[in-house]
């Protein structure tokens, strides 16, 4: 299994460059249907908009976006297309809104000749970023329901009399699946932890840790007490990945003369020191990380022969990953129960795909063992530990804000 993990790590390490630039591409739309009028309020993060338009000047980005949205946000009805109406003054058909820092906002009014068989189409951004997700709110017949527009679901048929059905749990489950599949550091972390698996029951601990982490995150989100600082959290996940590498390294050093000095902890502390110089505002998180690393590696040494501690790191990683969705839901202004429902589906999807990945890895390892494929274990572990430490440190430093 460890050999397979090495191969997968090498493969994914090659794609790590993509993960550096990886940022969640999301937008937010509110569709208000009132008689024959449809009002669309569309919010797009500045980073997504600038990447889409290729312009750094806000005014030019706004102008280009207005034309872009007119082409890609449309409404149809039984009587054909509903045109976007001119909003008077010198506004034109797309009115730019002031929606706070970090977001571009636009408002478009559509007037339909026949308000029956309405069809909302949202094709913006998907052609450029297929992973893009638009969190929509549909307000119709006195009900507000959450919906999702994705590359595979770019239009929504509205019922004439009934309330619009909200997006199903399966839709959010799909988001969770894609989130793990499209995020390289999640893959690498999971495969890295497989290097620590020694017994069959350890796989069970790994899955249980994942479930516990996501469950705890859902519970914390449902209280609404705290909000995540997401870029910092992403960098902390890098630290956890490096910690897994350090645990593997420490295990390999057991009994060696070098063990007199806690090299893995020293390495990580140096990385944390560099991070502190780079982003002093994150001092508390980094000092906490330093204490965690030192304490954890010391505990792990003490526990070595009896029990395993590393599933706790997996649980921490899953816990932090559980805040990915809530972190982007802010501008959608959804009620907390709806957010918890969405998060439940999202986390279920993430757990399912993680379990599937682990299962595939275990299956492949069993197959390789049956084929009597072997590789030098110490080298494998050393290389993987180095990869994990390197990638984790890289993500820690590059994503820290």
């Amino acid at each position: 299994m460890k050999r397979l993990a090495v191969l997968a790590l090498c493969l994914l390490g090659a794609t790590a460059g993509c993960a550096v630039a990886q940022e969640r591409s999301v937008s937010y739309s509110t569709w208000i249907i009132s008689g024959n009028m449809v009002t669309l309020r569309y919010l797009l993060p500045v980073t997504v908009a600038q990447r889409l338009m290729g312009v750094d000047v806000p005014v030019l980005t706004t102008e280009k976006l207005e034309d872009y949205l007119l082409q890609r946000q449309t409404v149809g009805s039984a009587a054909g297309e509903c045109p976007a109406i001119d909003q008077g003054f010198d506004l034109g058909r797309v009115d730019p809104l002031a929606v706070g820092p970090g977001l571009f906002g636009f408002e478009i009014f559509y007037r339909c000749k026949d308000p029956h068989h309405l069809l909302l189409r949202n094709t913006a951004v998907f052609d450029a970023v297929p992973q893009h997700v638009d969190f929509a709110r549909i307000q119709m017949n006195g009900h507000v329901v959450p919906q999702l527009f994705t590359a595979g679901h770019q239009q929504l048929v509205l019922p004439d009399a009934d309330a619009v059905a909200p997006a199903s749990l399966a839709a959010y489950l799909g988001l969770g699946l894609k989130h793990i599949l499209n995020t390289a550091n999640r893959w690498i972390f999971l495969l890295g932890t497989l290097l620590l698996v020694r017994r069959r029951r350890d796989v069970g601990y790994l899955v249980a840790a994942l479930v516990c982490g996501y469950l705890l995150a859902t519970l914390v989100v449902s209280t609404g007490w705290v909000l995540p600082r997401m870029p910092r959290m992403e960098s902390f996940m890098g630290l956890l990945m490096a910690l897994v590498g350090a645990i593997i390294m420490q295990r390999e050093l057991r009994g060696a003369a070098a063990q007199r000095l806690p090299w893995p902890a020293i390495l990580l502390l140096v990385v944390l020191l560099i991070a502190l110089v780079r982003a002093p505002s994150a001092a508390l998180a980094l000092l906490g990380g330093a204490a965690l690393v030192c304490g954890f590696l010391s505990c792990a040494r003490w526990f070595e022969a009896r029990r395993i501690l590393w599933p706790a790191v997996v649980a921490m990683f899953a816990f932090l990953d559980g805040f990915v969705l809530p972190a982007v839901l802010g501008p959608a202004q959804l009620p907390r129960p709806t957010q918890v429902w969405m998060l439940t589906g999202f986390d279920l999807g993430a757990i399912l795909i993680a379990v599937l990945l682990v299962g595939l890895a275990v299956g492949a390892w069993l197959l390789l063992r049956a084929l009597r494929f072997s590789a030098p274990r110490p080298i494998v572990n050393d290389v993987c530990a180095a990869c994990l430490c390197g990638l984790g440190s890289f993500w820690l430093l590059t994503r820290l804000q």
């Binding site: 909000l227 910092r232 906490g288 204490a291 304490g295």
Partner: protein, 308 residues
């Protein structure tokens, strides 16, 4: 067992190797949690004291409400009926909704009327503390002395502006130098008592048409004569004849019939004006100081070729 021996016993136990790292893990997790999360803003579910309503989490002040009720009904707050209070509250909520909508629509950036109103509002706010101060008579008098020219009554003139054309179709061969000789002679004769009509007929002068016949106020005369001729006329006294003045349309001679010079009004007569001017000047000073401050803090980039 003494305290020291207890500590020694603890340090010699193998468990100490676990206690400290475990403590480090717990402290590390707590510190990291503090760094990785921030407290979520709590939505206001109850109207706080001192407010009458919350509109999208934005409060309407009780004081503003009472003042609005009294303003709209022209009654003391205690005498206002519940229906009237409800109506005013509804209006205030509607207004708040419209203001919030205006902010979302970015009207301060897009609507000229809103921008102008906002600029006036800021200037008024800046000037308010200055205007609240009542100046003493001594300060007003000092201001008056410093700006005496602003409190002068307007003067008036009755004059004749004669012009001798040069190089025209009637006297095409006459050079400016020759015309200046004629004009000097005309001036001499006018100062010697020759009549205006005689000089005009003899030397070919004609009225320039710039000055109206009869008395004109100084500012109007300045407008009509132009800066060059007015500069000469403004220094002339009754009955004086100016030296020839070379202008693009010929040589001018100004004959001042009557000149009433401007007179500075007495302080007591213009005290009210001085008071208003003093307040205006103070307000302008405050707003310009505010602008200087804003400019010192601002980053302003001008397009190439433009200046302000």
């Amino acid at each position: 067992m003494s305290q020291m021996s207890r500590v020694r016993a603890f340090l010699s136990r193998p468990q100490r190797t676990l206690v400290l790292p475990a403590l480090a893990v717990v402290i590390g997790l707590l510190a990291a949690a503090l760094g990785l999360f921030r407290a979520a803003p709590k939505p206001l579910l109850v109207v706080p004291p001192g407010y009458v309503a919350l509109v999208n989490q934005k409060g309407l002040l009780l004081n503003d409400y009472r003042a609005q009720v009294e303003l709209e009904t022209a009654k003391h707050y205690a005498d206002v009926t519940p229906d009237e209070r409800r109506r005013v509250l509804r209006e205030m909520i509607n207004e708040e909704l419209l203001v919030q909508r205006a902010v979302v629509l970015d009207l301060p950036e897009t609507a000229n009327e809103v921008r102008a109103t906002m600029a006036v509002g800021v200037n008024s706010q800046v000037a308010a503390p200055v205007l609240a101060y009542e100046p003493t008579d001594a300060e007003l008098r000092a201001f008056y002395e410093k700006n005496r020219q602003n409190y002068a009554t307007s003067g008036s003139m009755t004059l004749h502006d004669l012009v001798l054309g040069v190089g025209g179709y009637q006297n095409a061969n006459q050079t400016t130098a020759q015309a200046q000789i004629d004009a000097a002679e005309a001036v001499y004769q006018l100062r010697s008592g020759a009549s205006l009509d005689y000089v005009m007929a003899h030397f070919g002068f004609r009225p320039s048409g710039r000055a109206a016949q009869g008395e004109e106020l100084d500012f109007a005369m300045k407008l009509h004569l132009g800066a060059q001729l007015y500069a000469v006329a403004s220094t002339m006294r009754d009955g004086e004849v100016s030296d020839p003045i070379v202008a693009p349309d010929g040589l001018h001679i100004i004959v001042m019939e009557r000149h009433q010079f401007p007179q500075v009004a007495d302080f007591t007569a213009v005290r009210d004006r001085v008071y208003l001017d003093y307040r205006t000047a103070s307000s302008n000073r405050a707003t310009s100081q505010n602008l200087r401050l804003l400019r010192s803090q601002a980053s302003i980039l001008l397009a190439p070729g433009l200046s302000e």
